[in-house]
């Protein structure tokens, strides 16, 4: 029914917007500039910075499943923990302690867990799915607790030996310059991948599944295959985050697999704004700076402050901080041009 379409339709505004959506905007250099500025200007805060970058990476992996594909999960720390324990156990047993390949192994292990659990879990949706993700994580945590010969049980594994990066740069827990730059590089690589993915036709189809499952099935999309694939990729990235956490801190404990971690990353993404790539950055930075600051000012009741902030976000800005920024930018643009500009919906 389509004879050779006339050239020129690709120059229509809507087509141009679609074709240019993945282009890198100038403001996208800001987080990376800030990260390097932190390294140069605040060497005392590099331990905090390393933790922040790892949290961003973990939140980014959650954004892929939650923000783009609409998979609601409360058990994402299962993959973080799988990655962390892979690195920890392999190094502790003297089997493998090279950091970069160690991360690949962590990613592979977490992806395997993601694939296996995803094939079963992603037959369900909504509350059932939420509960099952939680159960999967609890099972893994209990397994790690029981297998204390390998995992150290409740005490975890400490002094995990990691060989120097490229055979030269030591991981020093007290002065983590190597860790910081290493984590920054890994975050950048993973971010580049996720960014490419979400703007691809595959990412577009994930958004379609989130927006309308019924219609996605009716256009012939293999919905479950797509979801499992997305879940597996996200698990791999979460595994990298866990693995690098174990390398940077030289220890692993049950906390890497716990509900606390899973819930925190969910809060971070809600705070920053999901389905927006940079929500992970903003949310992690806001959450961690705030808890850092509040716990110094009110050592006993600092979590109250975070709780109140979350209530405000949930009530007035359910697209998180980035959602508020987008709305403001849209309003400003509209006021300046005097015409109803197209909405900031293309994410």
């Amino acid at each position: 029914m389509t004879p050779a379409p006339p050239s020129g339709v690709l120059n229509r505004p809507a087509a141009l917007v679609l074709a240019g959506r993945h282009r890198i905007r100038l403001w996208e250099t800001v987080p990376w500039t800030l990260a390097i500025a932190l390294y140069v200007a605040f060497p005392k805060y590099l331990a905090f910075g390393t933790e922040l970058l790892i949290t961003i990476l973990f939140a980014l992996s959650l954004d892929l499943v939650l923000g783009y594909a609409g998979i609601v999960t409360l058990g994402h720390a299962a993959f973080f923990g799988a990655g962390a324990y892979t690195v920890g156990i392999l190094a502790k047993q003297g089997l493998w302690s090279e950091p970069i390949t160690g991360l690949l192994l962590a990613a592979a292990m977490a992806a395997a867990v993601g694939l296996g659990s995803g094939l079963v879990l992603l037959r369900t949706r909504g509350l059932t799915l939420l509960m099952l993700t939680l159960c999967t994580m609890a099972l893994l945590e209990e397994a790690a607790n029981l297998a204390h010969v390998y995992t150290g049980g409740f005490d975890g594994l400490d002094s995990v030996p990691i060989t120097p990066l490229f055979g030269r740069f030591e991981f020093n827990p007290l002065y983590p310059t190597t860790q910081y730059l290493y984590v920054l590089a890994v975050l950048f690589a993973c971010f580049a991948f996720v960014r490419t993915l979400v703007y691809s036709p595959f990412g577009q189809s994930l958004t379609g599944i989130r927006e309308n499952l019924l219609r996605m099935r009716a256009v012939g999309a293999p919905v479950r295959t797509r979801l499992v694939l997305c879940y597996t990729l996200s698990a791999a990235i979460a595994g990298i985050a866990g693995g690098i956490w174990a390398q940077a801190n030289a220890y692993v404990n049950l906390g890497t697999l716990g509900l606390d971690r899973a819930a925190t990353v969910l809060i971070i993404l809600a705070l920053g704004g999901h389905g927006r790539l940079y929500g992970a950055f903003i949310g992690a930075a806001a959450y961690m700076s705030l808890s850092h600051f509040l716990s110094k000012v009110y050592p006993t009741g600092w979590q109250l402050g975070l709780g109140l902030l979350l209530v405000v976000i949930a009530l007035f800005a359910n697209n998180g901080i980035l959602g508020v920024v987008e709305t403001l930018a849209h309003t400003l643009r509209r006021r300046r041009t005097g015409t109803p500009a197209s909405p900031p919906g293309l994410r």
């Binding site: 029914m1 087509a15 074709a19 240019g20 703007y199 577009q204 309308n212």
Partner: protein
């Protein structure tokens, strides 16, 4: 269920056919022994009172639900066990009675998703979506055909319902179906806008076989070349519009009620 051996195919074989198709929801027989035939290029209407099982029948044809018994055949091939996604690839596409669209996405993106699935572009991960020129070009072209091009950059949720109905049609046409199942295409559209939908349906290319479900008798009798009447989950009558219009039984169970005014 035992399946009899396949009948030999010939040129006049129906494009889409059901044989004694049944579907029960608990004790309710929503579809009972439906024998139905539709030929290439058909303009076929399915009418019947509320609860007659029309939407259930469309769900059975599109593969959204499985039959309890009976068979569905496409060009003589048994597709009873074929999943919905595969049926789309075989050329059976549908619209929904209530819009099922990607409301947060633009009109162009809505159509893009359908076209990308058909052209096999959707699994691609490493290339930007907007750079699949073939998909974008075809989507824009389709929007041109349906006079939706001006809305291409708007979010679906911003459009009036009548325009959204057209997007529903556009998404389905993006699958280049051989069989198009339209479940009440003008439902919920204000009467001032419904002519746009009707014009779009009337302009559908002749090689697409169209099955339309509607309550609007004007639309049905203007559009259809063949009408099937369903009552109580089964086929009550089938024939040309003239035959159906003249059938006293049909008038009694259905048309009498529908022509209220």
């Amino acid at each position: 269920m035992t399946t009899p051996p396949e009948a030999p195919r010939d040129a006049t074989a129906p494009l889409l056919e059901t044989r004694r198709l049944c579907r029960n929801f608990g004790a309710l027989a929503a579809a009972r022994d439906i024998d139905f035939r539709m030929y290439a290029g058909a303009r076929h209407a399915l009418i019947g009172p509320n609860g007659a099982g029309k939407t259930t029948f469309v769900n059975l044809l599109s593969g959204r639900i499985r039959p309890s018994a009976g068979r569905v055949l496409l060009k003589g091939t048994d597709i009873t066990r074929v999943a919905q996604a595969e049926r789309v690839k075989l050329g059976i596409a549908r619209t929904f009675q209530i819009n099922q669209l990607f409301r947060g996405l633009t009109v162009l993106e809505n159509v893009y998703l359908a076209v990308a699935e058909r052209l096999g572009a959707a699994p691609s991960m490493l290339r930007p979506a907007g750079r699949r020129r073939d998909v974008v070009e075809e989507s824009m072209h389709l929007l041109d055909t349906l006079k939706l091009a001006d809305d291409a950059g708007h979010r679906v949720s911003e459009l009036p319902y009548g325009r959204q109905r057209l997007v529903e049609l556009a998404v389905t046409l993006g699958l280049t179906p051989q069989v198009l199942l339209l479940d009440e295409p003008a439902a919920g559209v204000p009467s001032a806008e419904s002519h746009i939908i009707l014009a779009a349906i009337a302009a559908l290319p002749r090689h697409i076989a169209v099955l339309i479900i509607d309550h609007d008798m004007d639309l049905v009798f203007r559009f259809a070349e063949r009408i099937t009447v369903m009552v109580g989950g089964t086929v009550f009558a089938s024939g040309s519009p003239r035959e159906i219009g003249a059938d006293p039984d049909v008038r009694a169970v259905y048309l009498g009620q529908a022509h209220r005014g």
